[in-house]
Subunit: 366 residues, 4 copies
Amino acid sequence: MSGNTFGESFRVTSFGESHGPAIGCVVDGCPPGLVLAESYIQGDLDRRKPGTSRHVTQRREPDTVEILSGVYEGRTTGAPIALLIRNQDQRSRDYAVIADTFRPGHADYSWWQKYGARDPRGGGRASARETAVRVAAGAIARKWLEEAYGVSVRGYLAQLGEIAIPFVSWEATMGNPFFAPDAAVVPRLETYMDELRHAGDSVGARVNVVASGVPVGWGEPVFDRLDADIAHAMMGINAVKGVEIGAGFAAVTQRGSEHGDELTPEGFLSNNAGGVLGGVSSGQDVTVSLALKPTSSIRIARRTIDKTGAATTVATEGRHDPCVGIRAVPVAEAMLALVLIDHALRHRAQCGDVHTSTPKIAARVK
Amino acid sequence: MSGNTFGESFRVTSFGESHGPAIGCVVDGCPPGLVLAESYIQGDLDRRKPGTSRHVTQRREPDTVEILSGVYEGRTTGAPIALLIRNQDQRSRDYAVIADTFRPGHADYSWWQKYGARDPRGGGRASARETAVRVAAGAIARKWLEEAYGVSVRGYLAQLGEIAIPFVSWEATMGNPFFAPDAAVVPRLETYMDELRHAGDSVGARVNVVASGVPVGWGEPVFDRLDADIAHAMMGINAVKGVEIGAGFAAVTQRGSEHGDELTPEGFLSNNAGGVLGGVSSGQDVTVSLALKPTSSIRIARRTIDKTGAATTVATEGRHDPCVGIRAVPVAEAMLALVLIDHALRHRAQCGDVHTSTPKIAARVK
Amino acid sequence: MSGNTFGESFRVTSFGESHGPAIGCVVDGCPPGLVLAESYIQGDLDRRKPGTSRHVTQRREPDTVEILSGVYEGRTTGAPIALLIRNQDQRSRDYAVIADTFRPGHADYSWWQKYGARDPRGGGRASARETAVRVAAGAIARKWLEEAYGVSVRGYLAQLGEIAIPFVSWEATMGNPFFAPDAAVVPRLETYMDELRHAGDSVGARVNVVASGVPVGWGEPVFDRLDADIAHAMMGINAVKGVEIGAGFAAVTQRGSEHGDELTPEGFLSNNAGGVLGGVSSGQDVTVSLALKPTSSIRIARRTIDKTGAATTVATEGRHDPCVGIRAVPVAEAMLALVLIDHALRHRAQCGDVHTSTPKIAARVK
Amino acid sequence: MSGNTFGESFRVTSFGESHGPAIGCVVDGCPPGLVLAESYIQGDLDRRKPGTSRHVTQRREPDTVEILSGVYEGRTTGAPIALLIRNQDQRSRDYAVIADTFRPGHADYSWWQKYGARDPRGGGRASARETAVRVAAGAIARKWLEEAYGVSVRGYLAQLGEIAIPFVSWEATMGNPFFAPDAAVVPRLETYMDELRHAGDSVGARVNVVASGVPVGWGEPVFDRLDADIAHAMMGINAVKGVEIGAGFAAVTQRGSEHGDELTPEGFLSNNAGGVLGGVSSGQDVTVSLALKPTSSIRIARRTIDKTGAATTVATEGRHDPCVGIRAVPVAEAMLALVLIDHALRHRAQCGDVHTSTPKIAARVK
């Protein structure tokens, strides 16, 4: 009801604040027998970790994860897996300003009115720091998806402010701190970010995520369509303002004779559907695109009110990402993996013994 | 788990196929004491009803709703409200073609592989006919929202294929079968649809929905953000491929100094957030935009496979909406209302006794 | 949240009042491909039907069930199955007395204070009539359990007031209107009931239910143990005041060396556990026993208050079961079947591919 | 789905094994503004703590709880509250015997067949150690219930093996390690336990729990009745085999004219209902009674099989409670508190603005 649990069959319950003792989660419903160690999860966490380049927040957090339960002799037991990440760099400073005023574009005002209580230190629970636990939980989901079904989930930065980034290769995304799929564009991104940081401002971004190898049949037809649950997952990431599946908003101007992906014995001829037909996976790549708004904590002073309702201004000096979209790439991957494993298990519950004689066609004709 | 229930506190469980005996739903969790009659729900159903103009499906369905339970002496009792709509015009025809082949862009292939069973008559459960029950349930939600909080939920057609439709007034949306907010554009829409129908093709659309009067404080911060649940609701409508909240994808190129909506004692100065900050309503209008793909059932023949996996072609002759986006307007309104009432009740559960001395500022400075 | 849905993977959403237009339910999550017809469900409904002997309520209801969705060409499709039972014999009479006073032992007072609204006709939603839909939904569960796993679920009346009824055979339960497993005791039960009816009073009962053939492995270890969910299901039946699994309250005085059921390669040597170890089925018979209180609607006048809070008395003249425990037998069977199918599917979701080399031992050494 | 989360509005997600690094839970949905400190929770944990007398397990665990999130400046914020208890005394010993055989009456066999994996150290997740986190979460629930509604939740040992313990006073329960409500019986209990321990055997017990001050109106009428959810909660405690509400199994032989609790302007005249009418609280004391089976880990050798299915015997030498019923008292209190707070919030969601002019009558005429 309070919405800190994600998923139905594979459930992640998240907790923790930016400057509290720790963040973490409980993963319930993981199939037993999966080989799992902290080092594996750590690999994914390191991709999202703050402080890895000058273009993201300078907070120094090792993000060391500890598995507290659910794993015995290196394998999952089927019991809940609790993951703990202690906060280290809760830099001592004066939060009085933030505590008494409301940043434009931030959760400050709405949460205060909702709860009448607020942990203002570093944004408290509203901090993007919370997304580390999603990456940790997502790492477990990704491992199982890959081993059980050969599914891979990968994302990249598709646009930074005005700069559209062409997709060149998945390898390219690993060689730069922007998750940019084109090495050639990186110098331009660096210059752009340096100017932005210098100006004390922030900017939005577009992130694309793709799941390959998803078998046909995952997703529930009406309310909990696979794409509906993906939309829920993505819009639930801090700063996301838009979600597209497949052709997305381009479908508005498409004709039916253009949009509908033709089927042949050799595979589909296009993928406007983004791998989801009638809410159920088709066997094609599941393709998702997100819009992320610019960070609301900026050094430029802006008009606002304080807790008494009086007019004032606010500028935020702390350590913030000038573009939250960059570090959102591993978070979006994690959320997509969480949706997929959840629907893999949900599908197995109801349809675990269904077989048809119709061949499963290839994702796409090459 | 099979996803035919929507909501947590205000729950709608949907059932029914296009050409079965009936469609309907059970609404559980409605607050007691609400004045409710079938005639009220019927008013909303009539807006979505097929056959109201030549631009939508010609199926003739009165969509007469019967309240089976949960209402006594004209008021809700707190017990589940079952709504029943008998199907009338299940025109007898040969479904053998559809039953054995898979329409491109349709649920046919993925559902068949998922269930190994399929009701092909009129699309079965995949038919947009299912959305009638969402409108019926949404009517109850809208009535309560309006009476308890003064919330109004309204939508319009913002784009039809290439034709963008400027917002002129809410009144304009009621005077034409397109839900177009500008009377002047209607003749152009009619010509466009006539040509499309003549060509046997279909087209996409954009629909906007706005909720006004939503108080500050609804929504749950992390996974079940108000905007995340809206995204889930909207992407769960047949044919939707993209969802935006507030600035949406335009946020990608915005600066933080531009995007963050400034607060003043007189109200907010802009609404890029779309009425949701940190997943919680801010008191501003909640603004949502959807992309709908073109209908996949078209008269133009397309390549596909049959149940044995052999290559073939398929063309669909039946009665279909050439643009599902048009009749999606009342459906999108209903889904937004369902999300809002659910979060109104969820908020009351945890925070029913919270009060702050901070004034609730106006939605927007005029 | 309002609790009219039962189950997680196999979900039943119930609706309807005793004297409204209809009662019914939506069953979501049924595996596809199950052969299903109304006649099958009707068979179970007829066992619970009122008016079958002079010892139960004399209301005349055919309880004819209609399948509205989810079945195509005689098989389930995986879509929700809506079941509808129209009410026929809503005998017109004056409910003014019941509407304004609160029967001792009845839901009248607590529901009125909860909702501030109440449908008093025949008890409204509090009527045992609601249990017909559980039997209808349970019939689907039983059929699947039997065909997929060979599970049978059977119940009997174990005690009527002071009269304990020894278990002789399952066959015996079918030859009398009491579901008594011993034909010899029936004349004594008839005399007892005649005297009770003559006195205008009612009495409690004990019902036993047994599920045989349940495979080892169903149930979730901590909160949602198989036995915990059975307890929830049984205590959720009207009038139930106590639930036992296996040895039940007799376990209070047992020693560990006596209670723990020994395992041998040929099977278990006893069944004090009632087929559930650590919340998970063991492969033994699942044995459950319930206590049902006497009907609260009796002809003997009793002290109470009216809606203004003033002292008064109330006697109930309508058509009521002098012992609700009798017709509770098929209801308890249905609820046990609903718990079992739900856990069968839940188990398959998480552990669908688990195999061990340890033999599954027999339910019990003969 | 895997059942490690309890509740709908006030949700507790439990994790941890007996001999893993830690146990703990996440409490989601706690109303904001509640004064909360670790010391408060510690008080309840100390009551359940092992090693407090020679009559319970001799494991030495300080059970020190750490609040990781959700509390700021001494008050709950509405964010999830994570509670962590590190395991200290995981005495190193050889688990080979337990790992390869299945104790009669224990989860060993059923869990192994379910998961194909098992953490055998100290019983792993099946250990009663898991109940410590329920007590910790329950402490938060109790505090809120008491402060918001004046509800108190208290339990006692009502029977130990053959020794029935009369209720003398709540004060008496605090002066002895048995939670016995009669000081006079304590010497007899001590002798009994000494003999039992000497024999290497164990015994069952009966525990009673009472909630006073519960307002009328909590609980949902059909499946999620207050008593049904209590039954689920209690049967979900390790070793519980039976649950009664109010008159419980005594209702089997009662007449309706005896069982139904009469109402007067001064209050109810009896409490056979146990404070729940039609699944909804009546304002009377909620009275619950549980049967706990004897501990299955005993020193007396018993017949069993090993992982290959071969016949063998097993005796358990470790540190175990000869009567788990004793330490179950605070656990049962905690579970009852968790059900009550959950229904308090659920009730507020749907019926937060209901008022009637009918006076709420007293729990009982003195």
